[in-house]
């Protein structure tokens, strides 16, 4: 497990360095992600340790968002004043996004299987 964590942290580090010095428009972890993906494609398989760490992260992804989200307490008065706009925008936007994504995927996938 540690070897997997070391590998992933290494890619995160390389990503941060590349982002800082070469591509300031893209956040470091994204570059790390792309580099790790290239590494996996080159290796042809996922090393056991990397797989273990990644599946643990995916399962407990939720908890990692908690500290940033508690920041809501700082903006509470500001958010309260505009609660209606925010609530409607967030709810409608997420429903529309799910609906559009699902419909596009479904329609194009069906078009394909009908043609085949």
């Amino acid at each position: 497990m540690i070897d997997g964590l070391v590998r992933i942290l290494l890619f995160q580090g390389i990503g941060e360095v590349v982002a800082h010095f070469l591509v300031p428009l893209v956040p470091g972890p994204v570059i790390g992600l792309v580099l790790l993906l290239a590494f996996l494609a080159w290796r042809g398989k996922v090393p056991e340790g990397v797989e273990l760490v990644s599946s643990a992260f995916m399962r407990y992804l939720g908890v990692l968002f908690v500290p940033a989200a508690v920041g809501v307490v700082m903006y509470w008065p500001h958010l309260q004043r505009q609660a209606l706009a925010i609530a409607v925008a967030l709810v409608v936007s997420v429903l529309a996004t799910i609906a559009v994504s699902a419909l596009v995927a479904k329609l194009l996938a069906r078009g394909k299987s009908d043609a085949a």
């Binding site: 995916m58 968002f65 908690v66 920041g71 925008a89 997420v94 996004t97 699902a102």
Partner: protein, 242 residues
């Protein structure tokens, strides 16, 4: 005579100065959230993140602890967001072989969903008269928080507000996706997962993994791709429109 025991107040001052308290609070609140989520048979409305954030916000308000102090301890959890983003490469890589014949629907869904999420949120927020700090944070709310916060800084929006909106979006998406997808008769797990991943990133992906592994993998794929696309396209589009 008893030796001088420290009184409750001294213990409290010591504890609240240490990062341990915020760390325990964060993980314990999440654990409570997970217990409730499991007790309610994975009811999407009993989202563990929502429960944890509510509990912590109430606790630190009651304890009169400033958010900055809380974050000092909780940053160890927060830091791992970047690491988790990198490890998204694994579900993306694992989904690659099953992508045959699905590339076109997925890419189209990603672009359609990504554009919808930005345009609808910004238009509605503007329509209801939200100020520019809110509108700016709305632009990046659908991409996963670690990437979104980085992008927010680059386009001059508040990273904290972005994180708050991103997490709220994630919770809403995780809670409501089932109803939308059922209403649209979308039954394929890969399509359901992908739609959830585009709209509600990490929290939606967490939820998708707890319901079905294929949906989880595709949600992770969607969240990763949306993050990468957003990180590249959003600052560029914003620069173009200004």
């Amino acid at each position: 005579m008893r030796p001088d025991l420290p009184n409750i107040h001294e213990i409290w001052v010591y504890l609240s100065g240490s990062p341990l308290l915020a760390l325990i609070l964060t993980l314990a609140a999440y654990q409570v959230g997970v217990m409730i989520y499991e007790r309610t048979q994975l009811n999407p409305l009993a989202n563990p993140v929502l429960i944890a954030v509510t509990l912590i916000a109430l606790s630190i308000t009651a304890l009169d602890m400033p958010y900055a102090t809380y974050f000092e301890g909780a940053q160890f959890v927060h830091f791992l967001l970047g690491t988790a983003t990198v490890s998204l490469a694994v579900p993306i890589y694992q989904a690659l072989p099953s992508l045959r014949g699905r590339v076109l629907p997925l890419v189209a869904a990603l672009i359609g969903g990504g554009v919808t999420s930005i345009v609808s949120a910004v238009a509605i927020a503007r329509f209801f008269g939200a100020d520019e700090s809110i509108v700016g944070a709305m632009v990046v709310k659908s991409i996963t928080a670690p990437i979104g916060m980085g992008v927010a800084e680059r386009i001059g929006a508040s990273p904290t507000l972005t994180a708050v909106f991103a997490v709220t979006t994630g919770i809403l998406g995780a809670a409501l996706a089932r109803f939308v997808l059922d209403a649209l008769r979308c039954r394929e797990w890969w399509q359901r997962g992908f739609a959830i991943g585009i709209a509600s990133h990490g929290i939606g992906t967490s939820r998708a993994f707890s319901v079905n592994p294929e949906a989880g993998t595709y949600a992770g794929l969607a969240m990763g791709l949306h993050g990468v696309l957003g990180a590249v396209a959003i600052p560029w589009a914003v620069a173009l429109l200004r």
